[in-house]
């Protein structure tokens, strides 16, 4: 079963963290990623640039309008996306949990194109 692990971060939390603590917390991420890579469960992993670099597109009167900055006024922004292929939801939650130390982590199953005969 394929899942995405969506990591929502508050950039201020990370920016204000003591360097040693940040290194330790990032080390936790890397340990989990190494485990996933070694077991053949990791599909891909991406980190996202700072939300201030985001562009938001809205369509106004049929015309797409691009503005600078992220959509909405949230404090937490999507900071990282992992795609994993694991045997169960329990396994997905198990690998995602250590990452939730400072961030909010959302685990979503991917839809597939298969289908049972109804």
């Amino acid at each position: 079963m394929k899942y995405v692990v969506l990591i929502y971060s508050n950039p201020t939390t990370w920016a204000e963290m003591p360097a040693a603590e940040r290194d330790r917390a990032l080390g936790v991420h890397n340990t989990v990623l190494k485990e996933l890579r070694d077991s053949g469960e990791l599909i891909r992993v991406d980190g996202l640039t700072h939300p201030t670099a985001a562009k938001t597109i809205r369509t106004r009167n049929g015309v797409p309008v691009v503005t600078d900055g992220p959509f909405g006024e949230a404090k937490e922004f999507l900071a990282g996306v992992w795609a994993i292929d694991v045997d169960s939801l329990d396994r997905a939650l198990q690998v995602a949990s250590p990452v939730a130390e400072y961030d909010t982590v959302e685990v979503r199953e991917l839809m597939d194109l298969s289908g049972m005969e109804m």
Binding site: D38, D87, E109, L113, G115, E117, M118
Partner: protein
Amino acid sequence: MTAADVEGLLRDLAPQVLAALTRRFGTFATAEDAVQEALVAAATQWPVQGVPDNPRGWLITVGSRRLTDQLRSDLARARRESAAAALLPPIEMVAPAADEGLASDEDDTLTLLFLCCHPALSPASQVALTLRAVGGLTTAQIAQAFFVPEATMAQRISRAKQSIKAAGATFAMPPEPERAARLGVVLHVLYLIFNEGYTSSSGQDLQRPELTAEAIRIVRDLRRLLPDDGEVAGLLALMLLTDARRRARTGTDGRLVPLAEQDRARWDRGAIREGVGLISESLAGTRLGPYQVQAAIAAVHDEASRAEDTDWRQIVALYDLLEGLAPNPMVTLNRAVAVAMVDGPRAGLEILGTLQGDDRMAGHHRLDAVRAHLLEMAGERAAAREAYLVAGRRTTSLPERLYLEDRAARIVDAVPSDR
């Protein structure tokens, strides 16, 4: 020979060559890598230069050379690192002549299947390793079939081989008392491979290799090796009878067509004939098992020339039997549908009620989908529509979601005043 012919030949030879090299060199993991390299070499060279007179011997020779090179460099490193390496018996370093052919190929394929489907592995790893070592597929092909990057699949296969080694498994048949249970795992893995291929909808993923064909090919092999095993025959029959409906189960737009609405003229008559023959023979002879009963159910469906001719009474009886042999909530769910067709939707809904508290079904879209279907049969349109929508939200399959949303919309279209 065309590239496709060569590929077919290589698939047949792969397990034999792997078995010969594993027996000779004693290490399954490295032999498996060497075979993969030999297969890739053959797949590029043979279509151009022609197939050698003794293709099996050619592959064993090429694989042996790779293994010998590997062992030599390992030994050289060991010498540098430790004087103890000098104690290694020199006989291990010598590559024997090609194609010794000690044991029969038959036993080899079976032994390999048992090894690849070792209980220490996760189902995903069992599937991947079986397709590579027994099926002769490349890592790239397997990765493509499961929509993951090649590096991910390569790592999964390598980890699977490490786990086999760590579990202390060797290239030998499991001891007799374990064999029945281990064969059960093998059959389940082959069933998973088939299902992965069968449930994929056509159209959007044209590049997917024919996993169903691969599963059927391996089960055919297995049946040749174990002709008296009723469950092997049952699994082969189940695959043939299910695959026979493949062309009718998806519309041109990739949408799912339910069994009742399929164009039965598009079913594969040859596969149905073979499947029915197999299951009839096996039901008459051997001890009954779940695959045989599922095949018998598929046969009843396939033998009805119109949906309304389906012998639902017989299907109910078979589901009763299946529930006794292998009780699980999915079987109960399917029995509820069959009972509804015989005794009406209320009787079916009553059976669904017994699944209400079952943790294994909690939140499963299929329970809601069946409930929706039975409610619709009972004329409870609003409740049916709601259940279809709940099922549509819960499924992880895109074609299923489209199908369930369609059904919900159809109810609204039919009775606008119902809302």
